[in-house]
Symmetry: C2
Subunit: 407 residues, 2 copies
């Protein structure tokens, strides 16, 4: 039996970056970028007018000129107009390229307009002279051409989509989505649409693990096998070669129908560990088919499956989407225990908690009254689990501990 730290290390050692695919940007939201996005032009690419109003030469304003003849009008998207008279102004709109010869924009709110008898339009500046360059978003103020904007490995969220569009990255290199086979085992399980007999229950881990894997970017397919070595030997090989990961639940403990560890080894899957000093989830089995799938064989109790998926499999799914091998992410969010907790065995304890922000900005973790690893309903009212290290045995209220969030 190994420690949680050692199990984490062995899972991390199987991480290999998945292949790249080239997608239209419009289809790439939420995927992991596999190329650096660099600025094709300066940001902004030109001296960009930031307010609707007039553009003028600051020197004239500073010299005491307060009223400016409007020489022409320039809209956003129009080539910059020519400025004939250094003492005149151009009526100009937000987003326009500031023409040469003017350097400052005064917004409409700070102007009054009049027409003279000759039909000329004049704007009078109603505020003290601002600084030169006022209301102009200067070329290259934010980023320079060729600057790294979005490094490979970043998830393409809304902001990254905007930047990719701006630089014309109409096709982007992204990690292909991990393919995950989710397999439930257990003769007591009947399909969702069936009415179970008194001693049966419906299959639920499969849909749970599929939903969890898909929130980590995976494409999933669901399978069920009876607790039968023949069925397992027939069904598993296609999954071990056709998927990046096989996530099983059930069949890994000490029971007489727990055939999975034996069958997996028979099929050539290299066992990397079996049993971890942790609760829930002690019987967790982990291995890898040479040249094929990584196998997360999780204990079948729903809370064990769920917690171990979030603790080991989800970070793995996120890591294989990265361009380089990265360490499986630790639970980096700290939370404050609101009640004392005692836990005797020398095991890491994954404690279901509800989480809420405290008034002082700290995240407060309150232990759920859970009925053990079979109490699926306790997952509904908790939103994460604290990772309590094997020692000490007593964790007083106020202890700050890492939390794994699943909501």
């Amino acid at each position: 039996m190994i420690s949680v730290a050692e199990a984490t290390r062995l899972v991390a050692a199987t991480i290999r970056p998945l292949g790249v695919e080239y997608l239209s940007l419009t289809l790439a939201a939420g995927l992991v970028l596999r190329e650096d996005l660099r600025a094709d032009r300066d940001f902004p690419p030109f001296n960009r007018v930031a307010m609707d109003g007039i553009a003028l030469n600051y020197a004239a304003l500073a010299a005491g000129q307060q009223e400016f003849r409007i020489e022409s009008t320039q809209f956003a998207g129009q080539p910059p107009v020519a400025v004939a008279d250094a003492k005149a102004a151009i009526e100009i709109m937000t987003g326009a390229m500031l023409p040469a010869g003017v350097d400052t924009v005064i917004r409409y709110e700070d102007l009054t307009f009049r027409n003279d008898e000759a039909g000329h339009r004049w704007a009078a500046v109603q505020v003290p002279a601002p600084r030169a360059g006022h209301n102009v978003h200067s070329q290259a103020a934010d980023r320079r051409q060729n600057d790294l904007l979005v490094p490979a490995g970043t998830v393409l969220g809304p902001a990254e989509m905007a930047v990719a569009a701006t630089i014309g990255a109409a096709t982007v290199a992204v990690t292909r989505r991990p393919r995950v086979a989710v397999v439930s085992t257990g003769d007591e399980l009947v399909p969702i649409t069936d009415t179970p007999a008194a001693h049966q229950i419906r299959r639920s881990n499969g849909l749970m693990l599929q939903a969890a894997a898909e929130t980590a970017g995976a494409l999933t397919e669901a399978f069920h096998f009876d607790d039968d070595p023949v069925a397992l030997r027939q069904g598993l090989p296609a999954l071990l070669t056709g998927f990046d990961a096989v996530v099983l639940s059930g069949g890994v403990s000490m029971g007489k129908a727990d055939f999975l560890p034996g069958v997996l080894r028979e099929l050539g899957v290299e066992q990397l560990f079996h049993e971890v000093r942790q609760r829930p989830g002690k019987p967790f089995w982990f291995g890898q088919q040479p040249g094929g799938a990584v196998v997360f064989a999780l204990p079948g109790n729903p809370v064990s499956s769920f917690v171990n998926f979030y603790r080991y499999a989800r970070p793995w799914l996120q890591a294989v989407q990265q361009p380089a091998v990265t360490v499986v992410a630790a639970a980096t969010i700290p939370a404050v225990l609101t009640q004392p907790v005692d836990f005797k065995p020398p095991m890491t304890h994954f404690l279901l908690v509800s989480l809420e922000p405290g008034p002082d900005g700290r995240l407060l973790a309150t232990p759920e009254r859970a009925g053990g690893s079979g109490d699926m309903a306790s997952l509904l009212t908790s939103s994460g689990f604290l990772e309590l290290p094997p020692d000490p045995e007593h964790f007083p209220a106020g202890t700050v501990l890492p939390v794994w969030r699943f909501r």
Copy 2:
């Protein structure tokens, strides 16, 4: 010009629950439930064996009996066996239904086995007598038949999917996804695949807002209109009747090409407000087509569009998926300002910040050095925005403020 509080109230007043659709559970992950899910049976539905080992009668153990003859074996999924001898035991597997006549399970780890000459198998208990019911997950220990498990309005996450499957909710009532038209305007904008002239830029707000809306559960379609009242009058009516929300960016400020407020009113959209005392995003226009779409006409600067989408439109999209009218969610996560901030105008200030958990469990917010509402790149390095109320003007380091996260 109205306050942020008043704008929030007016947006909230347009919230109406969207219609219900009935989906296969396998297609419903991530959607909002529109029916209560109740326990079809007790949780667990029977006295469920929680460990692999033997089931016995606790009274015999308490009376001093240490060795038990194995009368039969029962696997998970098998009907419970009959117990003939009150002093014998049944070898039994996790997930099995505990038969009548036995009440306690001793796990394999705490047993030794031997065979006698008559061919009988015996198990000797190697630990002190535990309590009656040990390693049995009692019927109804977690929930009772007909208990409310998942109330309407809950998002179907992995835990909810597991519970829905368990109770046989093969078809579930969920909110249909909101349909959102995302519209960019601006003559300076060219398609992503084009090479812009010196005074042009590529369209980026559309993809940004589509990606943001889809993370809130929306189905989106993208449109672009030139800054031309004729094009707007022709194109907008179909969107105002065919979508739940129309999210526009650009064309709402004081410029001579800012036709949107006028055209929208002309088309019968009721203006609910125009201009909010906030930065960025002062020119935000909001209205509703009677019997049709709600219209979020956001300012075109990318940071303005982005922040106002997250501040007003995203909570609206989440609220209309709820079964009953709910108040638009406030930013309930508090964060601690790491640097002092001064902000003079009597306006609410949405301040881009990077967020990281502090060692004491508090979320620390560090202001981004942003180049204003046109600085799209500042969205890449920030992960939320603080909402600084109009007064005071000075916010010292250590101030706890609500934060809107977008990562």
